[in-house]
């Protein structure tokens, strides 16, 4: 029987090290395109925040920053679980690897649950632009703009979370099938990079949407 390590190397690569490095750089390039995608939205937010600082602070004051802080902690814990999953893969501990992957998924789902609960509370409060938005006063249209940014950016982030949970589920399945070993676990590392990146985006979303108006509550 051929060496399993040899089998894992595609013909365009000289050796497993080169193959792994290519995958890692490819994933980082993809993450850079994601920085540009979210970066455009952050820049748009900055421009509107400069134009309407009072409305954006009032919009932020309507957020429950405690839920935001709890969600940040949940996501940081899920990133920690993901980091431990990569560590288990590097040691070749398959059972621990599967366990930490499942824990990452569970914490990701908990985050989405809290997030969607927040969306529902906003909806009940008539803070859903285009569906039911009722606020009065000279700043109201710009508070609505704050909510447009809020739904767009946290919504895009939530879509990334759902994709990440899908990827992690496939990894749990492949771990069960025995696809990964001490010598070959690049998909775990790459998905880990994606998960940590999505976590990083949320850290900034928490900072710009929840914190500026927290003292006005």
């Amino acid at each position: 029987m051929a060496d399993p390590l040899e089998l894992a190397v595609r013909e365009q690569f000289n050796n497993p090290v080169q193959q792994r490095e290519t995958s890692m750089v490819g994933m980082w390039v993809f993450l850079i395109t994601e920085i540009m995608l979210f970066g455009g939205l952050f820049t748009g937010f900055a421009v509107y925040r400069l134009a309407h600082p009072i409305a954006f602070d009032q919009g932020s004051a309507q957020m429950d920053f405690r839920l935001g802080a709890i969600n940040t902690a949940v996501l940081i814990c899920s990133s920690f679980a993901m980091a431990l999953a990569v560590n288990s893969a590097e040691r070749g501990r398959k059972l621990r690897l599967a366990g930490f992957l499942v824990l990452t998924i569970v914490l990701g789902l908990l985050f989405l649950g809290i997030k969607f609960d927040e969306y529902y509370l906003h909806y009940l409060d008539h803070k859903a632009p285009g569906i039911s938005f009722y606020q009065w006063g000279p700043e109201a249209p710009y508070i609505e703009m704050f909510y447009v940014f809020y739904y767009l950016m946290t919504g895009l982030h939530a879509i990334h979370m759902i994709v990440g949970i899908g990827l992690l589920s496939v990894l749990v399945l492949r771990t069960g099938l025995g696809s990964f070993s001490k010598d070959y676990h690049t998909p775990i590392e790459i998905t880990g990079l994606y998960w940590h990146f999505v976590d990083t985006v949320w850290v900034f979303l928490f900072a710009i949407f929840y914190i500026p108006g927290a003292h006005m509550r």
Binding site: R20, E21, M24, V25, W28, V29, L31, I32, I35, M36, G39, G40, F42, T43, A46, V47, R49, L50, A51, P53, F65, R66, A69, T72, A73, I76, C77, S79, F80, M82, A83, L84, V86, N87, E90, R91, K182, D183, G192, L193, H196, F197, D199, T200, V203, F204, F206, A207, I208, Y210, I211, P212, A214, H215, M216
Partner: protein, 99 residues
């Protein structure tokens, strides 16, 4: 790849630091600092992002090319935001209509 890239101990310290900084962000948010509430929150977020990139994402344990790619991405984003804000922040500084 015989040794894990980053030890569990380092991961644990990173995790605790991130949780601590989240608490710090929330506490600073409760004090009225004017526009510096947002500035402080974004600065702490940047510190958290570098912790995640360095220790969770192994950015400085990988091939040099990874660092070049990451630096390239950050520089392009800084160009995007600094040129845009350079326009919006300086409007109305000159005594000409429309400038």
């Amino acid at each position: 790849m015989s040794q894990p890239t980053v030890s569990i101990k380092t991961y644990t310290f990173t995790w605790l630091a991130l949780l601590g900084l989240t608490l710090l962000t929330s506490l600073i948010g409760l004090i009225d600092l004017g526009v510096f509430n947002l500035v402080a929150a974004v600065l702490i977020a940047a510190v958290k992002a570098s912790l995640i990139a360095t220790f969770f994402m192994h950015a400085f344990y990988e091939a040099k090319l990874v660092r070049v790619v990451l630096a390239g991405g950050i520089i392009w984003f800084l160009i995007l935001i600094s040129l845009t804000l350079g326009d919006y922040l300086t409007r109305g500084l000159l005594p000409f209509p429309g400038k």
